[in-house]
Symmetry: D3
Subunit: 70 residues, 6 copies
């Protein structure tokens, strides 16, 4: 499937932490930046996520804010 979300950043899963309904998934981009995601534990299972696996961090443009140093 192709999806409308403007931001689809390729990286690798470097950390996974499971809660009762949600899991925290950390993706590392090739440049070394890390992106943290909170998704359901069902999603982690269905996508077969595990440390070392290639994955995309996907963000809808309307959910990106901008900051500047003061």
């Amino acid at each position: 499937m192709r999806i409308s979300a403007r931001n689809q950043l390729k990286g690798k899963v470097v950390d996974l932490k499971e809660g009762a309904v949600n899991s925290k998934v950390t993706i590392e981009l090739p440049g070394g930046e890390r992106i943290t995601s909170i998704i359901t534990i069902e999603s982690v299972k269905e996508l077969g996520l595990e440390v070392g696996k290639d994955a995309f961090a996907i963000v809808k443009a309307s959910n990106v804010m901008i900051g500047v140093d003061e």
Copy 2:
């Protein structure tokens, strides 16, 4: 101000497009990835955003999804 959002990626503004209430802002990360953001036109003015300016793309972890190639 420091903010709870887990994802604060530093880059440069490389494109700006203004609509009636929202603007589209594109940030390029050092690794070359581009991140697209939709924010209000007031925010663009208040932050003094313009092409070439350093800026952060900021995303709350609960707004990041994960994708995998099939």
Copy 3:
């Protein structure tokens, strides 16, 4: 690509309205319910959306609220 979003509802595009930076896309599900989406005009072009085309309405579970009749 497979994506973590829990809600991926299949339907058909029944309306498109374009603004300066965003477009409104309406999807009709087989049961007749209509789902409205606001995405960027670039997304509409890249996905080749037009009235009559099959498409999915995709929503992350953390963006779904629940309501009850009083």
Copy 4:
């Protein structure tokens, strides 16, 4: 109360799973589609949600993405 959210889909609660701060609520639409929601455990209590109860899945249009089969 009437609310601006464009998407208010009527269905029935078919599953509830409680975590420490969030709960997962699954709504089934008349056409059989299921919608998963993550809300706080306080919301589940205040709305009196339980399996079999009528409820609406509510989504703001800016939180709906579009996908197409490749």
Copy 5:
């Protein structure tokens, strides 16, 4: 309808600005704080929003971030 969103702040509409697909609505709380919302132009019409009208600003808890002064 009662809705799961944890944050439902009562105030008055003090400004409205219409774009092509979205409108910006500003609500003033009794304490004087102002809250800005971006909703579709259809929502503005359906709710009959106009300056001076009582209205609630509604936010799902998972969409609230926290900041602290450095």
Copy 6:
């Protein structure tokens, strides 16, 4: 850092509840309104949040809905 989010409401932390991956943080505004936020437990630690501390509730305008009494 200055951030694009239109809504930055100053108050005090009045409640904290920790889960496995997320925490619930409640902010009270000067006018007495309370705002509930769900953020990661890492964010709570990094910002040094505790009951009584000054803090801002921050919300992007596109995540604010409007409601009216029927």
